[in-house]
């Protein structure tokens, strides 16, 4: 939780996963790219003025082939980011490590430009830096955009460093496979780290730091008042008869819910008519129903109430008992139309999908026994409910 505490203090009414954002204490790392470029300009200027070391560096750079020049820039970029991170890092031990890492990368660049042996040092540093980041995000550091960009730079640099000097076919295949594997493995670690950070902070749609793809309102941490509890109870009393009717998916279909092609254990059957009827949070007119497809047919899990536009906030009739959420960075496949995941840590959706940057606010009402009326449905509870229904045929 401590790792995401600074995100919670960020501006704005909603909280999202840091995976799609820049953490405030990582911002200096990004900004350090500017002074890094200035430093390169100064070296060039001093080289023109006849400075001895700078002339060697500039001459060495000019003598390099294109891929080595690109490598020098990549190493300089990661050095600048690491040195910049020192300014924003509140933990002194980590700040020292960032500083040492940045300086070590600068030394590798110096060796590269002066024509000295650099590959082994560069490979060690780059592998160490990538590995350390993966361990950190899995342990306690929530991944953010600055971290991901830096790792991409380092993976590209490592691929150039590890290019086989004697390019036999097996070596080339090995190097190519290793590069692609490293990209995928780093991405998976970052993804897992983002979910782990959300889990440590409460998890689900309504934790202290939400899962990737979910936006929540900041919690004020107060308990619900008796009036708010009564409002939730009234809402449930109104909605229960309607939801009892929709246990039969055919009746739901007759009322306009898109129950055809039901798959999976979290199928959302939307009702286009209710989405545009101008009625907000009407207990008897939910915008969608949630079903699980089981061996005994459709099993109603709950309902979804959705706001008509992105700008509108849902009515919190139950205070902390009715926390609305929305979704961001969701991938939507066009062939055929279906949810195809979340925008990956590297910013992409599966080919043939579009990235939906945001949705209107929504809230779930669950009919599963033991589940909170509004909020998150625990996956274990969902599985047990489905298994029980499949075994007995009763809800």
């Amino acid at each position: 939780v401590s790792g995401v505490a600074h995100i919670l203090g960020a501006a704005g009414p909603t909280l999202g996963s840091p995976l799609y954002r820049v953490l405030p204490d990582h911002l200096p790392g990004l900004l350090a790219l500017g002074p890094g470029l200035l430093a390169v300009g100064l070296v060039r200027r001093r080289a023109r003025a006849g400075g001895r070391l700078t002339s060697w560096l500039a001459g060495g750079y000019r003598a390099l082939p294109a891929d080595r020049r690109f490598l020098a820039w990549l190493l300089l970029a990661t050095a600048a980011v690491h040195l910049g991170l020192v300014a924003g890092e509140p933990r002194p031990g980590l700040a020292v490590l960032f500083a040492l890492d940045g300086l070590a990368f600068l030394e590798v660049v110096r060796r590269l430009l002066l024509g000295r042996r650099f590959r082994r040092w560069a490979a060690l540093l780059l592998v160490g830096s990538i590995l350390a980041y993966c361990i950190a995000v899995l342990a306690d550091e929530p991944p953010d955009q600055v971290g991901v960009v830096t790792k991409l730079i380092e993976i590209a640099a490592l691929a150039l460093v590890m290019r086989p000097l004697r390019a036999t076919l097996p070596r080339r295949l090995l190097a190519s496979g290793a590069t692609t594997f490293l990209v995928v493995a780093t991405g998976l670690a970052v993804w897992a780290g983002a979910f782990a950070a959300a889990s440590r902070a409460g998890g689900g749609h309504h934790g202290g730091a939400p899962e990737p793809g979910t936006l929540v309102h900041r919690s004020d941490g107060r308990p619900p008042t008796p009036a708010e509890r009564a409002a939730v109870a009234r809402f449930w009393r109104s909605a229960r008869p309607v939801l009892a009717r929709y246990r039969n998916a055919r009746l739901a279909g007759a009322d306009g819910y898109a129950v055809g092609g039901m798959v999976g254990n979290d199928f959302h059957a939307a009702n286009a008519g209710h989405g545009s009827d101008g009625r907000i949070f009407d207990p008897v007119r939910p915008e969608a129903l949630v079903y699980a497809r089981t061996s005994r047919g459709a099993l109603l899990l709950g309902a979804v109430y959705e706001m008509p536009s992105l700008e509108a906030s849902g009515p919190r009739i139950g205070g902390p008992l009715t926390e609305w959420h929305s979704h961001e960075q969701v991938c939507f496949s066009l062939m055929p139309p279906a949810l195809s995941g979340l925008v990956s840590p590297f910013g992409g959706c599966p080919v043939g999908s579009i990235a939906v940057p945001g949705t209107p606010e929504m809230i779930h009402l669950w009919v599963v026994p033991g589940a909170p009326r509004f909020g998150d449905l625990d996956d274990g509870l969902r599985r047990r409910y489905i298994s029980s229904f499949e075994a007995t045929g009763r809800v």
Binding site: L152, V263, C349, A355
Partner: protein, 184 residues
């Protein structure tokens, strides 16, 4: 034949012209076209900077990794929610794109002219997709794309396009005499 910038060394002979087949990239086949009239065939000579090709290759390998990661993500969602069936076309296309990027990266390493062309088409498609997502983002949440998507979906494809465009092919008439006409 030299290895560096594909500079061709040897005794220049007016009798033989180096012809580079359009499909085979640098599959150089010395012919007697000088006598028979090489002008009848549209021939191209691609003499890329090996360093630039290496940069493009690495960027393509990374793009293959991006596509694979997205495929794994979609697969996980499909398995988790039990919606694998409708996702199968998406999974197939996404995995196919990753494999295509890997193959093109290998072909580019062998200086294939056709691979260069296909890579450029692919990068244009990536940019078009990024443009769609940027438009959606601006329209829906009034924000531009994030730092990582800008890097992976705009900067990388543009870099590949720029690097490959600079490595143009030349017809024998416009290329240097040593690169175009030779025969050891």
């Amino acid at each position: 034949l030299g290895s560096g910038r594909e500079t061709i060394r040897g005794t220049v002979s007016r009798e033989r012209i180096l012809v580079v087949d359009d499909d085979a990239g640098c599959d150089r086949r010395p012919t007697d076209a000088g006598r028979r009239g090489a002008r009848r065939r549209r021939t191209l000579v691609w003499t890329p900077d090996p360093g630039v090709v290496e940069i493009v290759r690495v960027l393509l390998l990374m793009q293959a990794g991006f596509a694979l990661l997205s495929t794994v993500g979609a697969l996980a969602v499909g398995l988790f929610t039990g919606t694998l069936a409708p996702l199968q076309p998406t999974l197939a296309v996404s995995a196919g794109a990753a494999v295509a990027a890997l193959i093109l990266s290998a072909r580019l390493g062998r200086r294939s002219w056709r691979a260069r062309r296909l890579v450029m088409v692919g990068e244009c498609l990536v940019l078009a997709g990024a443009l769609v997502d940027l438009t959606l983002s601006l329209a829906i949440v009034h924000e531009p794309l994030g730092l990582v998507p800008v890097l992976t979906r705009i900067v990388v494809p543009v870099a590949v396009l720029v690097l490959l465009r600079r490595q143009r092919a030349r017809t024998p008439a416009t290329s240097s005499p040593l690169a175009a006409i030779t025969a050891p």
